[in-house]
Symmetry: C2
Subunit: 340 residues, 2 copies
């Protein structure tokens, strides 16, 4: 059994770019287990846009990660040893912990991660840990989507966006996805079932939205912010809803405060409702949501694409991919092998 754990620590806050010395890699002894604890060997680490928020000094929705603390993330792994009666050695578990190859936890944020017949652990974890529930809650609980509506999704080829499009189709909507580059746009319509795709790198998003949704957008599922959000706000239907899941385009900007959307006055002109949410607020709804998502996966109704980067030491560089759009699918780091 491993005697030491390798772990990424936050060395300094980052409000603009992530730099070479933002994180620090350390190796340290694994402490002996106390009663109620378990030792977990990490298999996959989920990299999510919100990780970027945690390492900033902004007011945020939970405690930030401070310099000197282990970097936080959503992980799944195998229980190596357990002194917690709720978990047994050999189990696959998922929860929120650190960017580490081994870690000790009291299991507070952890639960057993069910095996889904015929579905890889990478895909199941990638879908069910964060991205799928985030897509579901934003679209259904917050956005109150209805059949027949026109739904527009930004970062539509991203981890959340690919799920939003498919769930919206399952709910009877017309879907328009926005992504960067012809390859991702082809994927939107061919792989993720979007009715239409807009390539923000090569097309005028505002003009294309007006052409594709001449009667306006009922529900805008926003992951990006900035110019993409402005194009969406300009194309909203009266009384439309804008669900703010992420504003990734604004997280890495340096040079002072980042302006909000220039079309903000449309909140009055079009009588919009703009609502933000954080998936961690929906713990109580999660069992039902996971059951519905897992059901769709088993029936082959949800297609998912993962982008796996190998090796814990790559995690900081991999995280940067989210802000350039370099990842091709849900971004994860493979820290250790799947069992068996």
């Amino acid at each position: 059994m491993a005697q030491t754990a390798r772990r990424w620590y936050l060395a300094k806050h980052a409000n603009a770019d992530i730099e070479a010395d933002t994180f620090e890699f350390r190796e340290e002894p694994i402490p002996a287990l106390k009663d109620g604890e378990m030792l977990v060997r990490s298999i996959y680490l989920s990299l999510d846009a919100t990780n970027r928020v945690w390492i900033s000094t902004w007011d945020q929705y939970m405690d930030p990660v401070n310099p000197g603390e282990p970097m936080r993330g959503f992980v799944c792994g195998e229980v190596v040893e357990s002194k917690n009666p709720a978990f047994q050695a050999g189990q696959i578990v998922a929860g929120m912990h650190s960017w580490s190859d081994y870690f000790v936890t009291d299991g507070a944020t952890f639960s057993a991660f069910p095996a889904l017949p015929g579905i890889d652990l990478s895909e199941a974890f990638g879908t069910l840990a964060i991205a799928g529930p985030t897509a579901y809650v934003g679209l259904i609980n917050v956005g109150e989507v209805k059949a027949g509506e026109t739904v527009v999704v930004s970062a539509a080829a991203g981890a959340v966006g690919m799920m939003v499009g498919q769930i919206a189709k399952l709910k009877g909507c017309r879907t328009i996805g926005i992504a960067g580059g012809p390859e991702k746009c082809a994927r939107l319509t061919e792989e993720f079932g979007y009715d239409e795709a807009i390539d923000y790198r090569n097309e005028d998003v505002a003009a294309r939205l007006k052409a594709l949704a001449p009667d306006g957008i009922d529900l805008l599922y926003e992951n990006v912010g900035g110019q993409i959000l402005d194009a969406g706000l300009a194309a909203m239907k009266n009384f439309g809803r804008v669900v703010i899941c992420g504003l990734i385009s604004t997280y890495n900007q340096s040079g002072g405060p980042v302006p909000g959307p220039y079309m903000f006055r449309n909140v009055i002109m079009r009588r919009l409702r703009i609502e933000g949410f954080v998936i961690l607020d929906y713990v109580e709804e999660m069992p039902g949501i996971l059951q519905e998502l897992a059901g769709w996966m088993m029936e082959g109704k949800l297609h998912f694409r993962v982008h796996v980067v190998d090796g814990l030491e790559q995690a900081p560089d991999a995280l940067k991919m989210l802000y350039t759009g370099a990842n091709q699918g849900k971004l994860m780091v493979r820290i250790g092998n799947e069992p068996g």
Copy 2:
């Protein structure tokens, strides 16, 4: 009886400042009445922040006023002659028409304006025509305000703001008003029942909001936008609501697109709901709302302050007062004398 009418026309759109040649004053013959029409002698013209929106080229919530068309406004007046069976000579009516001393209308947007015993027509019209219903709908229908909540109101000494504070108190809330200058701030607490007042010209609004609402704002009733809105967004409680009634600070800005709130990311961090509304969408709810407002007025529970400018020819200059905060109360133009 008058043979000619004097009337303001829009000469050119204004996206930035209102200029000397934005409007044009004309005198023209009063046409003979057709069946279904009436001739109205104007008494009061209401000047409202939204007038500014109508003369811009922005996408907006109703048709803009175009160059060459009479300038639009909310007016009350006395019926001089009627060929419309719904109205009789001598009646006081209110509705949406033009900046004119006499006008002919089919009465489509007009209704009889009830006399409220003991209440001046200027005050009754000022309260019930636009400002009172706007305050009510934003706070109750859109904002879903609840007793015990902390409500913050910007432009709190303005026509709408003075009503929002008082209605929020009637509903059992704690109220904090933001206005410009010590005179207006004194009025907030002494005349309009606000619990606290913040002078944005002489105080740090963000710091004062944090001090006065250390647990956060439940409901922000926004009339201003810009830095005031940013200060409010920074002080919101998790899951708070932001009702956008107006963004007057942004309507007159020249020099290109106006940025949205810099604290926009708090829509996620604090999981906010931001919702805009336009009072004209609430026609069906209006009878009940007017009855409740009139009831409060008759019981002496709503105090109102009007700022009356004399003379139709002053209307364009008076409108500019709304954007500098020069008016001391609900801004109206007296076009003609009250009857009797």
